[in-house]
């Protein structure tokens, strides 16, 4: 191998690349100077930590922003899908901010405010709106946290009522289950405690079986996990494991037991098996908040917590499939609980942890 020959080639290549780079770089710097102040549009970027397709909550978020844009003609929307490599989120969020084009960046997911911290520091003008998230108050951010204790409580209570009941899928064991894709703070701090509390409210003897799948996609493993829970006497399972939910539903269907669904209304997925759904009205929340930001009435540095009372957490009780699956006696007790949360006679506070 001729060493000299190779290194010369390399040097040549390197020099050429450097030259091209410099030219383009200088060109780029001088060429581009679009300053913000001139235009009168209100530009909103939606940062999707993942991809939109297949995620009802992300769909709702995007729909909410788009609705705001439909209301006000000078609102523009840019949706950026950041993909599943969490390592790239920060850089991509930074890129969005570095554009200095967007008045507002909207995103969802508990991790995002933390990812955004260094971005906010680098771009002190940038404003962020995060839903389903919370952080110690930051003056460039507004966070909206759903009271997921309530969410968990409602399905837990329903599960408790079902396992106790004489519904055809219910057995004599007083055991209900919950399967999570992975553990994250909202799960351990809000959803699971809420779920347990709800179950105990239905009957203090009820045992809750809590399992973690380890990922958000392995439907086969989820099915195995659900099967083993069912074999141990569980007859109602709350499933929160994204793409792997289907495995839980399949297992439940095969054994004739019930599934509770989280964050969106999905009775039609498995009529007769899905016995209850709690939903978030994220679209409305995002819509309203974007409009407030637009009109300048949003107070930055706020962490807002909303729940059933504010109408952002709902128990999907009007669905015909629900009414068909669950006996009227249970339906009416669910109505009572929802009412209690609404009128404030039942208060389920979010743990202290989330407030700072």
């Amino acid at each position: 191998m001729n060493i000299k020959q190779k290194s010369k080639k390399t040097v040549f290549l390197a020099v050429l690349l450097a030259a091209v780079t410099t030219v383009l770089f200088l060109n780029g710097c001088s060429g581009k100077k679009e300053t913000k102040a001139a235009d009168s549009t209100y530009d909103v970027a939606v940062f999707v930590p993942g991809v939109v397709a297949g995620s009802p909550l992300y769909e709702q978020m995007v729909a909410g922003v788009k609705q705001a844009a439909a209301d006000k003609s000078n609102i523009t929307v840019k949706v950026l899908e950041a993909g599943f490599n969490q390592g790239e989120w920060k850089e991509k969020l930074m890129s969005l901010a570095a554009e200095k084009k967007y008045e507002l960046i909207v995103s969802e997911n508990g991790a995002m405010p933390y990812v955004a911290l260094p971005v906010a520091e680098a771009f002190p003008e940038q404003k962020f709106l995060f839903v389903d998230a919370v952080i110690k108050p930051q003056k460039q951010m507004y966070t909206l946290l759903y009271n997921q204790v309530e969410e968990g409580y409602l399905v837990g209570y329903l599960g408790g009522l079902i396992t106790k009941s004489s519904m055809k899928g219910a057995n004599t064991d007083l055991k209900i289950g919950i399967i999570a894709g992975q553990e994250f703070p909202a799960m351990t701090q809000m959803i699971v405690p809420g779920y347990k509390k709800g179950a105990l409210a239905a009957d203090p003897r009820i045992k809750v079986d809590y399992r973690v799948l380890g990922n958000w996609y392995d439907a086969n493993k989820a099915r195995e996990l659900a099967k083993s829970m069912i074999d141990s006497g569980v007859d109602v399972i709350l499933t929160i494991c994204g793409g792997a939910n289907q495995g839980v539903i399949t297992a439940a269907k095969e054994s004739g037991v019930y599934v509770l669904y989280f964050d969106s209304e999905q009775y039609a997925l498995a009529p007769g098996t899905i016995a209850g759904c709690v939903t978030l009205t994220q679209k409305e929340a995002v819509h309203k908040l974007v409009l407030e930001a637009y009109s300048g009435t949003l107070s930055w540095g706020t962490n807002r917590i909303v729940g059933v009372k504010e109408g952002y957490v709902r128990f999907a009780e009007d669905n015909a499939l629900y009414k068909k699956t669950v006996p009227e006696s249970i339906q009416s007790r669910m109505r009572e609980k929802v009412q209690a949360l609404k009128d404030g006679s039942l208060v389920l506070p979010v743990p202290e942890f989330w407030k700072n």
Partner: protein, 349 residues
């Protein structure tokens, strides 16, 4: 150097350039087909990385791990070894570096950082060396064993990041942040570029020197070209199986370690994914020349930065960008691999 040699260089140089140019053209065509605002999309794809210090810095920073992995692959290639375990090795190096940083909170920044880097690269090196060892000991195909070991390690590292070392207070699937004393100084704020790029460039020079100017590199090259001849010449051939693998893993580990200290400051699930494969493509373009690895890595970083820019400014979606990158990757690797196979076949017949 005589005239013919010069002609040769120019021919092969244009050959490389042609492939790169064709792949860029191909990317442009793809964007044209897949985007509804193709003109700006193509424009941003090509010029995006140069539009601001920020993008430019990010591009340079993205080249850093690719330089390390590209060097690792080239090194093993010189000994005719194909290290297919880069993904696992870089991930491993990153995690170990992070964990050591987290375990040494009292340490002063520099010594601690170096300790962490050393540990990370050593861990990755040993992981790779295992493939070499298996080959020497039991004649296990090192290409397959490195790939399988690395796949298993990726699962293992995932387990630790999302389990044992996970930051319980974060919704991100990640370890906690390392102490800021371990951060490498940033160069072009707010971009992610850090002084790690100097280490990468230095690494390339060192590996170049090692391969072409030392007895060690000479012997390794000879083992790669014709092991029977090397053995006959008195070279201890079996040591040039484990050692190149070890060094290759070491470079991958450094890539991961510098990604932590320079860019990410923690380990996030899957954050190094793709860097190992990228290294193979980089080494292929660079024809395994350690200095050639630098421009080759920059080219890949440019591609990546270009698709990010197109995504940011136009309707190009995540999938489109991924498809464009994947296509260019295959375009380049298949070209190089085919010529590699052709060469092999010719030497056989």
């Amino acid at each position: 150097m005589n005239r013919r040699e010069k002609e040769n260089i120019i021919v092969s140089f244009w050959g490389v350039l042609l492939v790169l140019g064709a792949s860029l053209l191909f990317a442009a065509v793809l964007i044209f087909l897949l985007s509804s605002e193709p003109l700006p999309a193509v424009k941003y794809f090509f010029t995006g990385p140069f539009l601001s210090r920020y993008f430019f810095g990010n591009m340079l920073d993205a080249a850093v791990p690719l330089i390390f992995t590209g060097l690792g692959i080239s090194l093993a290639f010189k000994a005719s070894l194909f290290n297919l375990g880069g993904e696992g090795q870089i991930y491993m190096g990153a995690l170990v570096t992070t964990v050591v940083c987290l375990a040494l909170p009292e340490f002063n920044g520099l010594a601690g950082g170096l300790t962490a880097l050393a540990a990370g690269s050593l861990a990755a090196g040993l992981l790779a060396a295992l493939s070499g060892y298996l080959k020497v000991k039991w004649n296990v195909d090192s290409m397959i064993s490195s790939f399988l070991l690395s796949s298993a390690v990726v699962y293992g590292v995932n387990f630790f990041i999302t389990g044992y070392f996970k930051d319980p207070s974060s919704s991100l699937l990640s370890t906690p942040f390392i102490d800021s004393r371990y951060f490498l100084p940033h160069l072009m704020n707010p971009s992610t570029l850090s002084t790690s790029i100097f280490f990468a460039l230095g690494g390339a020079v060192i590996i170049y020197f090692l391969l072409y100017r030392t007895r060690w590199g000479y012997e390794m090259t000879m083992c790669g070209l014709n092991p029977e001849f090397a053995r006959y010449g008195g070279v201890n051939v079996s040591s040039y199986v484990t050692m190149p693998f070890f060094l290759s893993g070491l470079m991958h580990g450094l890539g991961g370690g510098f990604a932590v200290l320079g860019t990410y400051h923690m380990s996030i699930k899957g954050f190094t994914s793709g860097m190992g494969w990228g290294g193979i493509a980089v080494a292929l373009i660079a024809k395994n020349n350690p200095l050639g690895v630098i421009p080759a890595a920059l080219f890949f970083a440019y591609l990546n930065a270009g698709s990010k820019a197109a995504m940011l400014h136009t309707d190009v979606t995540f999938e489109v960008a991924a498809v464009v990158e994947a296509f260019v990757f295959f375009f380049i690797t298949s070209e190089v691999i085919f010529s590699f196979i052709r060469r092999k076949r010719r030497s056989l017949l």
